[in-house]
């Protein structure tokens, strides 16, 4: 962690004091174990670097399993004032709207035990994964434009799922303000053949069993019970999102000198939210986000199809339904109370999800009594989790990254 000194605030929070050209202090959510991990990478330095960006509000934040990323750390959260602040493609990440989708079923493990190998083979066959994988959905230029504008709603209209799926997808699976005109021909080309694919790296489709219930009420509301088979998908906007990020990163680096913003790391290249370049990035990023939602919606449909066929189960017997779909690489305009005043902010979450509390209007009505489901996929150590969000203030309305490296 080099020369960065953290001050312990309580058992789970560390203050990164404001020094030098930092505009705000940082806060890292970490227990002692995670704090020890921070000594071995540059993520605390990256939290400090983010605090240099113009218009940042209150704090540069890091969620519990923060780790090293490009520019922003993974697990980094930062909100920016719409008039004085910036948007940074590095604060969203290359894989725009990388996210998780959790599907529940009526099955328990004995229902699939004998068919597990057959099921796995069928899933591999139907859902392309790995380097350069291409999907079964071939898009015309006109359809691709609609995917970018409408997101998961396009997929449902095209027959890949039902309107009910959209109700339990963050923002109904469509981010407003998408403008395909702001997406390069290169990005469009890369996106043409990748809808309905998982990709490579840490992306996955996993068949899981619910092993432990910590909160009976929340579990009941989410429709989860012990022993149940659930399926989790982790993927994003594939080559299209990567290309959008790369295109705008190159553009912002090219014009960085004109903004007069001094950056401690070139990967933090940014544009003012009030500028045309900043607005164009947000419009292109929304296209990437919508592509990712359509992608996960199609993957859910393909999974349902494979399960029904392999297990010879009717849709009613299978009972597959979407628990929740939430993104963890995004910049969104959200309302928060800052110093007693309601303000619209551009919140960057990179490897961090939204975590809205019970009663919040942006979460599905069916979950409003317990809070938004927060999906934390597992890693080689900790198991995946589905948690009800219970934040108390805006700085806490975010949760840990996608592929948890450590759990507090």
């Amino acid at each position: 962690m080099s020369e960065i000194k953290l001050e312990k605030l309580d058992d789970n929070r560390w203050l990164l004091p404001q020094t030098g050209a930092m505009r705000v202090p940082g806060i890292i959510y970490a227990n002692e174990n995670i704090h020890d991990l921070l000594r071995h990478d540059e993520s605390a330095r990256q939290v400090a670097n983010v605090a240099h960006l113009p218009g940042i509000v209150n704090f540069s934040l890091a969620m519990p399993d923060v780790h090293w990323g490009y520019g922003f750390p993974i697990g980094g959260v930062a909100a920016f004032d719409l008039e004085t602040g910036v948007v940074s493609p590095g604060g969203v990440g290359y894989d725009i709207n990388c996210g998780c989708r959790l599907m529940a079923t009526n099955l328990t493990f004995p229902d699939i035990r004998e068919k597990l190998k057959e099921l796995t083979t069928a899933l591999y066959h139907r859902i392309p994964s790995g380097v350069g994988s291409t999907g079964y959905v071939k898009l015309s230029g006109k359809d691709q434009k609609k995917v970018l504008e409408e997101g998961a709603a396009w997929a449902v209209k095209a027959g890949y799922g039902s309107a009910q799926d959209l109700e339990t997808t963050e923002d109904g699976g469509c981010l407003g303000g998408a403008d395909p005109e702001q997406v390069s021909a290169r990005a469009l080309e890369r996106g043409k053949q990748q809808l309905g694919t998982l990709g490579s790296g840490n992306h996955f489709l996993e068949i899981e069993t619910v092993e432990e219930i910590f909160d009976e009420t929340a579990a009941r509301v989410f429709g989860l019970h012990k022993g149940q088979i659930v399926i989790m998908i982790h993927t994003g906007s594939r080559g299209l999102g990567y290309q959008i990020c790369d295109d705008y990163l190159a553009l912002m680096v090219k014009h960085q000198a004109q903004t007069g913003i001094s950056l401690p790391d070139r990967q933090l290249a940014c544009a003012y939210l009030s500028s045309r370049r900043g607005q164009n990035y947000l419009a292109a990023m929304a296209c990437g986000a919508n592509y990712a939602w359509a992608n996960r919606q199609i993957l859910m449909y393909l999974t349902r199809e494979v399960l029904e066929k392999t297990l010879r189960a009717s849709p009613r017997e299978l009972g597959m339904r979407l628990v929740y779909d939430v993104c963890h690489n995004i910049a969104k305009i959200e309302k928060f109370s800052v110093a007693g005043q309601e303000k619209k902010l551009c919140v960057h979450r990179k490897g961090a999800t939204r975590a809205y509390p019970a009663g919040h209007e942006a979460i599905p009505a069916c979950y409003r009594s317990v809070g938004q489901p927060v999906l934390i996929p597992g890693t080689w150590g900790p198991d995946p989790m589905c948690l009800p969000a219970r934040p108390k203030q805006w700085t806490k309305r975010s949760a840990a990254p996608a592929t948890a490296r450590a759990v507090s």
Partner: protein, 143 residues
């Protein structure tokens, strides 16, 4: 003189690239990128007929940005267009502008083995410097 070396960088891939001249540094960077991504199953000379020549001009804010933009362009050739680089030469090599002419062929799974997927070229800890013996660069790739 070594053309390049891999170095460990957490879950990512780092390349240290060398050249006696800046022109050679950029040529070796191109070679290293495709060496890391692709292994030829049969030598390119046996294939015949599929090759084509491409010329590109790449711009950058400085020599580091130029190197990143050059590698980005080549990465798009593979990730976006499905081209594999067979050989090439740098025709113009300034600090902010580069012209490259390359011989490429379409990727074919029976001829090319994908060893590593490279998703993006980053600016993270980017360094391009003149040394006593020539030029050296460090680039980290998202894999």
């Amino acid at each position: 003189m070594k053309k390049y070396e891999l170095f460990d960088h957490t879950a990512d891939l780092g390349l240290e690239i060398y050249g006696r001249t800046k022109r050679e540094l950029f040529a070796n960077a191109a070679l290293a990128l495709f060496d890391v991504m692709i292994q030829d199953i049969e030598p390119p000379t046996k294939r015949g007929g599929k090759e084509r020549v491409k010329t590109r001009t790449v711009l950058g804010a400085d020599v580091g940005d130029l190197l990143v933009n050059f590698l980005r362009e080549l990465l798009y050739w593979f990730n976006g267009l499905g081209w594999v680089l067979n050989r090439g030469s740098i025709l113009v090599c300034g600090n902010k502008k580069l012209v490259v002419q390359c011989t490429v062929e379409p990727y074919h799974p029976e001829r090319h083995l994908i060893k590593t997927e490279i998703k993006a070229v980053t600016y993270h800890q980017l360094a391009v410097e003149k040394t006593k013996t020539g030029w050296k660069a460090r680039v980290i790739f998202d894999v």
